[in-house]
Structure formats: C-alpha cells, structure tokens
C-alpha cells in the first residue's frame, strides 16, 4: 500500500484504513520536516493550489496555506466575502474560472454539504474538502486521530467520546468515520436536541451524562456549540449547557484515570471547556494544531502525486 485509493479527499467515508495509515506514515515524515531549521521541501514546485473558502475560517485556511507553502506549491487564496460569488456567479463557474489559470488542486470550504463531492465530479483538478457545511471535515478528523495516535501510541481499541453539538458538527461525523476505521470505540455525548436521531446506526454509543461519558473514555473531544448554524434554540441557555456539558478541572480531577482532552477550535473558554482544562497538561489542543500542518502536507503530497504531468 503506497498510494491512496481515492483521487480526491471529499470525506473520510471514502477512505480505507490503509489510506489513513499511509497518510499518517507520510505525516510522520513531514512532522520531522517542519521541525527543521528550513521547514520546506521542494516536492510540489510545479503544482498550483487554490484555497477556496466560501465560509469563514482562520485555523484551517492558515494550516492549509502553510502546508502548501512548505511543500513549495504556488498558492492562491480566495474568500467568498470579497468575490464575485456575491454577484451571483455559480460555484462551478467560479471554480472553472480559477482553474483556467492552470490550477492543479483545489482546497475548498463551503457551507453546503456535498459541495466538495459535487465539485470533484465536475472539474479537472484534485479536490480536498476543507469542510462542507454540516457534512464532513476530513483533514480535521485525520489530524485528531493522528494526535491520539501520537499521544497514546495507537488509535485501535481506544475509547473516544465526542461531546457537544453533534447535530451541526462536520468534525463529529468525520471523526466517527475515521476513529471507527482505525478500530476505536466512539461515543457521542450532548443534550438530546443536539444528538442526531439515528446516529446509533453508525455504531456509536449515545450518552447524555457527561460524567458517565468521561468515566468510560480515554479521550474526550470537546466540540464548540455552533450558534451560527442553529436557526432555533436547542437548549435554554449557554450557561445551562455549560453547567451540564462543560468540562471543568473538578470533573477531570475527580476521574480515577487521566484522560486526554482535545478540541478542534475555536474554543469558547468557559462554555464547553474551562480555561484551566484547555491549558492543562492533559489537553493536546496545541499539538492538534501543529499536527494539522503535517497531516495536510501528507494529504496534499499524496494527492498531488496523482496529478498527471502535461
């Protein structure tokens, strides 16, 4: 196994376990590279990448851009806020216009679920999904699993609970697919209103009591409440949510084991996680960010190796 089985990264659902392991193995090497005095390799000198962000992002866009630049690719950035999308252009037209400038690979974030897959079937470039609405966010799931592997040695057999707004979270869905493919057990935890009705059919456990969930798990991945995607009220108040599902130092210290705390960011300190937990030694939040660059370098490198030469 030395090549990805897919032509695009639209979701973790399409990847095999071997694909994920190949990405991790490649990311190990890139992690070494980004800790050198010169953090750049010349592999993608002749590749041009467009980062198309139709939805706001700070961390993911910076992480992708850095990953691309460290592979020596040429990078162009596009954000919907300042573009012709506001003037009524369709997605395919926008992208094809950009592709006619000889772009080889597109990294796209879009508010509509399935946008990356839609694009990958219609344009002549490799597509990496950087988040499509409430559907998938594959590179986040890869870097989360990679960070667990780094900290615990492996993902297989580990128990991971994903806490929070599962209903609106693309990170949750991608994480479930990724962790299960690698042999971990997954539980979701949150208020009834924020847990999708049929999620147990994916083979995940459902728990509504944070303490019980934490007692069960090795790793807790705390998600942000996505207020911007909630058009109705799903719980009475943030304060109440925080009291029931917020991770505090008191709960963490009262467990009879040391669990690992993760968060995909951005953190709302004092809501889903308190400051002292976020900054504790059990938290690997900043390692996740560092690993994000290495994992994205691996994904882009492996997909770029499939781009045909002209």
């Amino acid at each position: 196994m030395d090549n990805l089985s897919v032509e695009h990264l639209t979701g973790i659902k399409d990847l095999t376990k071997e694909d994920i392991q190949l990405i991790f193995q490649t990311a190990d090497s890139f992690k070494q590279v980004i800790n050198r005095p010169i953090k750049k390799v010349p592999s993608l000198r002749d590749i041009t990448i467009a980062n198309l962000f139709f939805e706001n992002s700070t961390r993911t866009r910076l992480s992708f851009e850095l990953a691309e630049k460290r592979l020596s690719a040429d990078v162009i950035n596009f954000s919907a806020a300042s573009s012709s999308v506001k003037k009524g252009e369709t997605l395919i037209d926008t992208v094809n216009n950009i592709l006619s400038m000889k772009v080889d690979l597109v990294v796209m974030r879009h508010p509509n679920p399935g946008a990356a897959k839609f694009l990958s079937e219609r344009v002549n470039a490799k597509v990496v999904n950087a988040g499509d609405g409430t559907h998938e966010h594959p590179t986040q799931a890869l870097l989360d699993a990679y960070s667990i592997r780094e900290r615990l040695g492996s993902v297989e057999g580990k128990k991971v609970v994903i806490v929070g707004d599962i209903l609106h979270s693309r990170v949750a869905l991608s994480n479930i697919y990724c962790l299960q493919k690698l042999g971990a057990e997954v539980m979701v935890c949150g208020p009834t209103t924020l847990i999708p009705k049929y999620i147990h059919e994916l083979g995940v456990k459902v728990e509504h009591n944070l303490r019980k969930a934490l007692e069960w798990c090795d790793v807790a991945n705390m998600l942000r409440i996505q207020l911007e995607r909630q058009d109705i009220k799903f719980f009475p108040s943030l304060r109440e949510y925080s009291m029931q599902f917020g991770l505090t130092k008191e709960i963490l210290d009262s467990l009879d084991k040391e669990i690992i705390v993760m968060h995909p960011g951005p953190i709302n300190r004092g809501v889903e996680i308190t400051s002292d937990v976020a900054d504790s030694k059990q938290s690997i939040i900043l390692q996740q960010v560092e690993n994000g660059v290495a994992v994205r370098m691996a994904v882009i490198y492996l997909l770029a190796s499939k781009i045909e030469r002209q």
Partner: protein, 182 residues
C-alpha cells in the same frame, strides 16, 4: 535475472577497513566530522563504518540518517509515490565536515537530492561523498565520489546490490544481469 557475486565477504571486510583508514587520513580524529547515511540502504554502510572507526579511534563517531524522498526530482514521474524513511539528524551540521554515505552511486540523482536535503539542516563547512559501489560511466549528473569501495562497469539493464549479513545473511556485492534468451 542472472546473479554474480562481485565482492565476497572476505573482501567486503577488507574494503570497509580500507575506507575507514582513508577517512582517518583526511578527517584525523573525526572531531569535526560526521557520517550521514542516505536512506534506505546507505545507513547500513554507516553502521559498519561507525563500528570500525570507533574500534580504531577509540572514541564515539557522530552519525545520522538522511531521507531524501521529498527532495527527489522524479515526483509525479513514477507510478506510485515513494514511502519516506526516517531522518535522524539531531545535531547541528553547521561548520562540520559531512561525509554523505550511500551504498551504490549510479546516476548521481540521489546524491543531488541528498545535498539539497542536507542543506535544510544548515551550512556545513565541507561535504564529501563515500560510496560502497561506484557504477562508473553511468552518471546523469556531474557528481563523483571522494571515497569508493569498489568500482564496477555495468549496463543500464543490470542491477547492483550491496547485501548485508544482518539483513540478507551474508556480506557481499551482487550483480544481477537480465538473462539472454537463446
């Protein structure tokens, strides 16, 4: 493939020994010199040289491994991407004398990538090249070795392999030639 041993284990040992003394001639006590093996097969040469040099000089020799995968010039020209190996350079190479070590010098492209990869770690005072086998007259680039174990004349269709006791069971250099039919 037809197989022919071109260096047996006795001569293999002698050659390694000779290379060590040649290195000592230039690098004295190795106080500012470092051996760096190119992944994947150059590292075995380094392991042996290090053993011998340490026995002769009675001091520790600094060694590292260098993976050149991301610096290769044939990315997207192969069917499949190459799986990278580990790089292990946890010391400064700034102002040091570096001896790049590989098992077989053929087109010179690996060494070119190796030089690029090495410079990402700093600016060495001097870089030399040691190869256990030199397939001469087959270079694509103007690169020559400073220390050579064995020089061989080969065809493009042939393959030269340095085999090690700890991996293949016996120290030897083998030449593989395509069988000529009829």
């Amino acid at each position: 493939m037809e197989k022919q041993v071109i260096l047996n284990s006795r001569h293999f040992e002698l050659t390694l020994n000779r290379l060590c003394y040649q290195l000592i001639e230039t690098h004295n006590d190795f106080s500012d010199s470092i051996l760096i093996g190119l992944q994947p097969r150059g590292i075995h040469v380094v392991t042996r040289l290090k053993e011998q040099l340490e026995r002769i000089l009675e001091k520790e020799i600094v060694c590292g491994n260098l993976d050149i995968t991301f610096y290769r010039d044939d990315f997207r020209r192969r069917e499949r991407p190459i799986i990278p190996s580990v790089t292990n350079i946890d010391f400064s190479i700034e102002n040091k004398n570096i001896i790049l070590v590989d098992d077989v010098l053929y087109t010179g492209r690996t060494i070119r990538s190796g030089l690029d990869a090495l410079m990402a770690f700093g600016r060495p005072a001097k870089v030399e090249l040691l190869t256990f086998v030199d397939r001469r007259f087959k270079r694509d680039l103007p690169i020559q070795a400073d220390y050579v174990g064995k020089t061989v004349d080969t065809l493009r269709s042939e393959r030269v392999s340095v085999e090690w006791e700890e991996i293949e069971g016996e120290d030897k250099i083998v030449l593989y030639s395509p069988e000529i039919n009829g």
